[in-house]
Symmetry: C2
């Protein structure tokens, strides 16, 4: 995980209190704010996706960051860099995908430039108005760990694509056109009366839980038999496969009676920072997380 090492370096240079959640919460402006990039042959390959799906995923990945904060996604900017042999049709189709995923979210800026490979970076702003904003450091002993949907489908989709099975089905679609959990986020953020922790499962469910556990200084205990997943997906993929973009929330038990559509997969217990999976404690899981494109490029 070279990425995590470099983030440490960046944090030490910038000495910023904002870096650590999916979004920065700018309370003076009443917004949350994030930026996320997708790089050709690192995060995607044109062997498996097309311009429309790429635009769609770009928007969804960014919308998911705002959802993780609990804010209402409002405005996005999109920067697209692409080789000059890629034509107008690609650009048109890409932005049609962005627009389709955006719904009410407005694209208000960005730029377009030349480059060797395709590089996409989008930033997004959400409104905190009427919402309680999450932080990964808010988990407390006794809180319940809930998730918004199935895990492991995206990673299985990627496996299928890599093995040459490129037809669109439940799994490949989960990977190529993920859905941000806008409604789930809104429900939690509007109904929460106390602080809570939330993140999306972009780097996998286990990583999401571990990030919250470490930021909060608690042990998060999860029961793998409770995690919603397709019956055909093995438990390692359910735990460590990335890019499902489901929400993982760690909330006071009292909230549960007011919300719906969630599955309880565990709880917070007092103890060392780390993750307990079926009663086995891990202080680190970085070596278990997988993301094929990333790994190939980062090694």
């Amino acid at each position: 995980m070279r990425e995590k090492e470099l983030i440490k370096t960046i944090k030490s240079v910038l000495n910023s209190e904002y870096i650590g959640d999916d979004c920065a919460y700018l309370s003076d402006l009443g917004i949350t704010y994030s930026q996320d990039s997708l790089v050709e042959d690192v995060h995607f390959s044109l062997k498996f996706t097309d311009a429309y799906m790429l635009g769609y995923k770009t928007a969804m990945v960014n919308i998911s960051d705002i959802c993780a904060s609990g804010a209402k996604p409002l405005y996005m900017t999109v920067s697209l860099s692409l080789p000059c042999n890629i034509g107008k049709e690609f650009v048109k189709s890409f932005y049609e995908g962005v627009k389709s995923a955006c719904g009410d979210v407005k694209v208000v800026g960005g730029d377009i430039t030349g480059s060797g490979k395709i590089y996409i970076s989008a930033s997004i702003i959400g409104s905190a108005k009427g919402r309680r904003i999450s932080s990964r450091s808010n988990a407390k002993a006794g809180y319940k760990v809930i998730v918004s949907g199935e895990h492991g489908s995206s990673a299985k989709g990627l496996e299928l694509l890599l093995s040459g099975k490129t037809e669109l089905n439940k799994f490949t679609k989960a990977h190529l056109m993920p859905q941000a959990r806008v409604d789930f986020s809104e429900m939690i953020a509007k109904l929460a009366r106390e602080d809570y922790a939330m993140t999306d499962s972009s780097d996998g469910l286990a990583d999401a839980c571990m990030q919250i556990a470490k930021a909060s200084g608690v042990t998060i205990s999860i029961d793998t038999s409770k995690i919603p997943h397709d019956a055909s997906v093995d438990i390692q993929t359910v735990l460590y496969g990335g890019e499902d973009y489901e929400l993982v929330a760690v909330v006071p038990e009292g909230l549960l009676k007011n919300i719906s559509g969630y599955t309880i997969i565990g709880e917070v217990i007092r103890g060392e920072s780390g993750l307990m999976i079926d009663n086995v404690f891990f202080s680190d899981i970085d070596d278990k997380i997988f993301n094929h494109f990333k790994e190939e490029n980062e090694r």
Copy 2:
């Protein structure tokens, strides 16, 4: 200018009223918002710059966009993608450059990923509080055209670098470490009592004037003898060379008695959309704008 063609395509897909100024003005949130990218061998070359200067320029280019809107630059996110053979020292030095240029502007997010070449994209938010926000479409007949400083120095700096003269001097510094006009922007935006147009000269002075003329549906007349520039820079470079990041403002005459540090270079006259340079009218100047890296890559 393939870029402008593609922007037309994007605008038609998104049908967004926000795209057209250096920043989007989100009046419901009281902010302006922008994103700008720098791509290796398109916008910069490591032959001429280093990590620190690159970070510095990344921040300044984005701060300049907020300055063009008249808002107060507040928060930035920075995404950096780089080949895995580039080490921690580069990343550290890059962010030190970002931080140095940022001053009070806080870096609150972004990401770091692998890529083939270096790709940088930053987004930025400014506060509109207590400021009148500019729009390129606000120029009116009788308004004066003013600039914040010298033009053509950055383009001359790039010429020097390309011809092998890589020592840091006034010109190469203007190109590698430009200065956003934060104070000039603040003065105009705080003192303006009527709408005004403003943009930065990132694509050159003539282009800045032309963008405002077209967005406002007026003729902007400029007198090249009035444009501040170093005596050694020829007038074509002064007009068409990019990346000076000076501000070009088109303001009511009444504002001028309250402000300082500007040079009047022309005025707005009623007429066809376009630019009159020393009494010669141009309805288009796209073929005259130059930016060496861009041209090489976009042809």
